[in-house]
């Protein structure tokens, strides 16, 4: 129970501290009316945190550690900004207040400043709240004894709130100027601690990779896993074993700010105000440079949850250090199942390659387990359990460089679906660009230009047609042919305009059609945004695209007026090929022969099709001989047959 209590206390204290100070300040200034929005802000922050936790639980998912760290870093910097503002503001007002002139202070406390204070309380709570939500979700999911674990954490938070309340009470009673000075000092340390921890989480998010060496050992003072340790970390931002970057960040912020706060009042404040304000900017710049410097892509792919079919290894965090201290592992995807024992002073397990964190889990107190996955390449690694007696252990990964045998491709599949979503977004962007140009030509009555733009405007659409088809009547509205339209329904879309261009040879009445087409394409683009895909959907979509080719392109029925069917043919095949190429790394792991066959047959289709290229485009469908059509048709059949086996191959197991 103690370990979770300490974590609850630590996370809760930072928030409680700031809320307490803000509340005390507002009370002192006779702005009790502003307390209401502050509490609403605090409540909203708590609710959001709770929702994040519940959302994660409902989605049966954990936010990947790396994203979590990134989020925390950003929020920390926002919080630093607000705390800094508060310090500067208090300093300015304390100078003018000279004692207990409540009325003047109240006047000085302009409306905007009130909101800034409210916002500060909000951000302080949400930052700690989300972190606590992550921790509690993991705790309830993985703990052998959720009630004890939860009680510990809840007690910690309650104690933090009590402390915050005491600060509030004390703050209300003492002299305002003293209060300002005292809280100003404390806040400088809190903010410096935030800067320091922002660098810590930023580094863990993989945004930069320098300054990771340990600078100091303060573990004699800030004993991890103890209440005093939690108080020191929570209130002063002190870490037991801060890294160089953390110390540097701490000092860069704290030194000028302390000087500013302690500087005798009434002298050259403006310069210092500016200096103080620019501190955050400098820090952000450093962080940004660091992020730019970490351009190299790690081979290891990291996911939050366990990966099916991967090698699983159980490791443990103990007071003595990471267990086992020496680990020998095979190459390939590996699930690290982390548990903890001991006093709870060490609660974090990381895998390092040099100074870079490849994977980690945090806040694993005794009784909890958590899992993370890495695709390990051969080489030497370190296990790292911060705050343990012996923090680092050795991991040696051996085996063939290509982790093919051990991997079942789950990691690759995940990457494929993510990349496919990007591809779809890219295609809808191109579609909108081209349709806009086409629509403009139609609306200006420029038949020649519209005819020229027609075949290529359709290409991005044809490449992702299965996606469009998933949205009910969007596909019919955009792409119906005349015989697809039911009696009484309006015929709209590309082919309606195609008929006007090639058959009626008049664009009369086509302006609304063109507008509708663009609108429908925009709807497609916005609906496709944020869609996620399953590997089987990619595979079946690819087969479906080839089905489209067989059904209407190869027969010349798609573009019956313009005879530009081969453009659509090309686009369908391209879309199928894209999906296949994304799935290929995973497929190679599961059915190498199938992957090779399909790749070869895509080439074969490409060759057959390229015979009919003219300039940037294709010959008219009417220029094809019967033998040409038959060859193309059979090439598609030859490709589609093995392609239809991909879905089962990538999903099975």
């Amino acid at each position: 129970m103690l370990p979770t209590f300490v974590i609850g206390l630590r996370e809760g204290l930072e928030a409680a501290l700031i809320v307490g100070i803000v509340a005390a300040f507002l009370s002192q200034e006779g702005r009790r009316d502003a307390l209401r929005p502050m509490w609403i802000g605090v409540l909203v922050a708590i609710l959001i945190s709770g929702a994040v936790g519940a959302g994660l639980k409902l989605a049966d998912n954990e936010l990947p550690q790396r994203q979590q760290e990134g989020l925390e870093t950003v929020i920390a910097f926002i919080a630093v900004g607000f705390v800094t503002f508060m310090i500067l503001w208090m300093r300015k007002n304390a100078r003018g207040l000279k004692g207990e002139l409540h009325g003047a202070a109240a006047t000085a406390l302009a409306k905007n400043s009130t909101y800034a204070l409210v916002a500060m309380a909000f951000f302080a709570v949400i930052r700690e709240g989300i972190e606590t939500a992550f921790f509690l979700t993991a705790a309830f999911d993985a703990s052998e004894d959720p009630s004890t674990t939860g009680t510990g954490a809840a007690l910690g938070i309650v104690v933090a709130m009590v402390l915050g309340y005491l600060i509030f009470r004390g703050g209300v009673k003492i002299n305002l100027q003293k209060f300002f000075k005292a809280t100003g000092l404390v806040l400088v340390f809190v903010a410096a601690g935030l800067v320091s921890s922002a660098f810590h989480t930023g580094w863990e998010a993989g945004w930069f990779e320098f300054g990771r060496g340990q600078a100091l050992d303060l573990s004699w003072l800030v004993q991890p896993g103890t209440v005093t340790g939690a108080l020191l970390t929570g209130m002063l931002g002190l870490q037991p074993k801060p890294a160089v970057i953390e110390i540097v960040g701490y000092l860069i912020y704290a030194a000028p700010m302390l000087a500013f706060v302690l500087w005798p009042t009434g002298r050259r404040m403006r310069g210092y105000t500016r200096a103080g304000a620019s501190v955050a900017g400098v820090l952000l710049l450093i962080l940004g440079l660091g992020a730019c410097g970490s351009g190299d892509q790690t081979r290891s792919v990291k996911t939050a949850g366990p990966v099916a079919g991967a090698n699983t290894v159980e490791v443990q965090i103990s007071d003595e250090g990471c267990l086992p201290a020496k680990l020998s592992l095979p190459t390939g995807p590996t699930n690290f199942k982390v548990s903890a024992k001991g006093s709870g002073k060490a609660t974090e397990y990381e895998i390092l390659k040099g100074d870079r964190i490849l994977g980690e889990r945090e806040s694993i107190t005794p009784g909890l387990t958590a899992t993370f996955s890495l695709d390990l390449a051969p080489g030497a690694y370190k296990s790292y359990c911060p705050n343990a007696d012996r923090e680092k252990g050795d991991i040696v990964v051996t085996g063939t460089a290509a982790p093919i045998a051990a991997s079942d491709g789950a990691v690759e599949l995940k990457a494929a679906t993510v990349a496919y979503a990007t591809y779809v977004d890219g295609q809808t962007e191109v579609l909108l660009d081209r349709v806009k140009a086409f629509v403009a030509a139609v609306k200006s009555g420029d038949i020649a230009e519209a005819k020229k733009l027609f075949p290529t405007a359709r290409e991005p659409y044809e490449a992702i047609e299965p996606v469009a088809e998933s949205f009910g009547d969007l596909d019919p509205r955009i792409d119906a042919r005349v015989n697809d339209v039911a009696e009484g329904d309006a015929w709209t879309g590309f082919h309606r305009i195609e008929q006007a261009l090639w058959k009626a040879k008049s664009l009369k009445g086509m302006s609304p059609m063109a507008d509708q087409l663009l609108k429908d394409c925009e709807e497609l683009a916005s609906k496709a945004k944020g869609l996620t895909y399953q590997p089987a959907e990619l595979a079946n979509g690819a087969t479906g695209l080839l089905g489209e080719v067989s059904k209407s392109k190869i027969t010349g029925e798609e573009d019956r007026y313009s005879h530009t069917d081969l453009y659509d043919f090309r686009a369908n095949v391209d879309g199928a090929q894209k999906a296949f190429e994304l799935l290929e790394p995973a497929l190679v792991l599961r059915d190498r022969a199938l992957a090779a066959t399909i790749a070869e047959r895509f080439t074969s289709v490409d060759d057959a099709l390229s015979k009919h290229e003219r300039g940037d485009g294709f010959v008219s469908y009417t220029a094809l001989t019967k033998a040409d059509v038959r060859t193309l048709s059979q090439e598609i059949d030859a490709l589609a047959e093995p392609l239809s086996k991909v879905a089962a191959a990538v999903v099975q197991r």
Partner: protein, 437 residues
């Protein structure tokens, strides 16, 4: 042929156009009895002995000295397909033959084309239309065309030329040929015969599917009724001209020596020892000009064929299976069987003893939209030892002299080597000898 027999035959004609032959024969009365007695009896016994199509529980064993579908008692339905090999890699061909062999053996046993994939994410391994149907005496016979060995411009396509059988060669241009190349030739063939047409179709469909990317279908032919018998237990069927066809066919009951001499690969061809036990298949799609034929008088029809239409007996004879009276003449000194009659020109007696094993089917591909006529005829299939000497000799004579040529057109032609059967042993597949060094 006198008036009486002609009108007697005519009176029965309306009724014998279907398969209810016995009733027709009885109703035709005594005038028919002499001419059609053998036929009527034959019809009765065969009808009782034969299982109904679609209820064919019979299974033809796949493994053996010869491939099934040659000597097997001829089934009622056919689906034949010719393929072009689109890969030039011998390993692709080998893999295809291996796949086809496994599939053929499964299908003949009444099993699906492959084991169930166990997932609803993949297309079904078997296409499914034969589920619930019996094996229906299905046979799947696989053949290799000349194009597998030598390309059109004479190149050794896959390094297999040294093993090319001497008997496997494109047929020369023959008299009366009006071949359509898109319906002719082929590097591979699959002959699927069964008593249920859906079972035969199912076999070709699944084999074609398994071939995708390696071989593409070049042409295909359905046959809805057999026009020959390969067993003496079978009734001689009628072709679409209404005549009994292939009465003198080679049947499976004949001596090994006869089969060896006329049907099976010649072991003297040392280059192609892998073909020992195999045979050669000639396919001809013979379009009948049905509308023209139907306008011909019965006398003309019988003179054209050389047989009595209803009984199947040779002209001047009384029973179907009696020998052709090739030398006999009528009272005016004209041969009983005209010089240009089909049976005379096709008879072994006038062809240096040439015999072939016929396994043809009636077909219709529906309608000829160009002419507005029925598109129907005989899909001629025949197994033999050496097409260049047997079929070519026969067709040279028939194509130039046969009175039947007025009513038919040869529109498609192909020749295939039919490798021997394989024993039921692991790793064996059709034509595996071709790939052994």
């Amino acid at each position: 042929m006198g008036e009486g027999s002609s009108s007697a035959a005519q009176s029965g004609r309306g009724r014998v156009t279907r398969r209810g032959l016995l009733g027709g024969a009885v109703a035709a009365g005594s005038g028919l009895a002499l001419a059609g007695g053998g036929y009527a009896v034959g019809g009765a016994t065969a009808d009782e002995a034969k299982p109904s199509p679609g209820l064919g529980t019979g299974r033809v064993p796949y493994h053996g000295v010869h491939q099934p579908g040659i000597l097997t008692a001829q089934q009622d339905r056919l689906h034949f397909a010719a393929f072009d090999l689109i890969s030039d890699r011998p390993e692709d061909l080998r893999e295809l033959l291996r796949t086809w062999t496994v599939m053929a053996a499964r299908l003949q046993a009444g099993l699906p084309a492959g084991p169930d994939a166990g997932t609803d994410l993949a297309p079904p391994v078997d296409t499914g239309e034969a589920v619930g149907l019996f094996a229906s005496r299905l046979t799947v016979t696989i053949g290799l065309g000349p194009g597998l060995f030598t390309t059109a411009d004479g190149k050794d396509r896959m390094g297999l030329n040294a093993k090319r059988p001497a008997a496997l060669a494109h047929l020369p241009e023959l008299p009366g040929d009006e071949l359509r190349p898109e319906l002719s030739y082929g590097d591979l063939c699959v002959q699927a015969c069964a008593d249920d047409p859906q079972v035969a179709f199912h076999a070709v469909r699944n084999l074609a599917r398994a071939a995708r990317g390696v071989a593409v279908m070049r042409w295909s032919q359905l046959g809805f009724g057999r026009t020959s018998s390969t067993s003496q237990a079978q009734e001689t069927p009628r072709n679409l001209m209404g005549f009994k066809d292939g009465t003198n066919n080679i049947t499976s009951e004949e001596s090994k020596a006869t089969l060896a001499r006329h049907v099976l690969h010649d072991p003297a061809d040392r280059n192609a020892a892998w073909m020992t036990g195999g045979s050669y298949l000639v396919s001809r799609r013979i379009r009948m000009l049905i509308e023209v034929w139907d306008r011909a008088s019965l006398g003309d029809q019988e003179a054209t064929i050389g047989r009595v239409k209803l009984s199947g007996a040779p002209l001047g004879g009384t029973t179907e299976r009696e020998p052709l009276p090739l030398t006999e003449k009528d009272e005016r000194g004209a041969p009983l069987i005209p010089e240009n009659a089909h049976v005379r020109l096709a008879a072994p007696e006038v062809n240096d003893g040439i015999r072939i094993l016929r396994r043809g089917y009636s077909f219709t591909d529906g309608f000829d939209p160009q002419l507005g006529q029925l598109d129907a005829g005989l899909f001629f299939l025949a197994y033999m030892r050496d097409p260049g000497r047997q079929f070519v000799d026969l067709q040279n004579r028939l194509g130039s002299q046969d009175a039947l040529n007025e009513y038919i057109k040869h529109v498609s032609s192909a020749v295939f080597a039919i490798p021997p059967g394989i024993p039921d042993a692991p790793g064996r597949y059709i034509a595996d000898g071709l790939f052994r060094s």
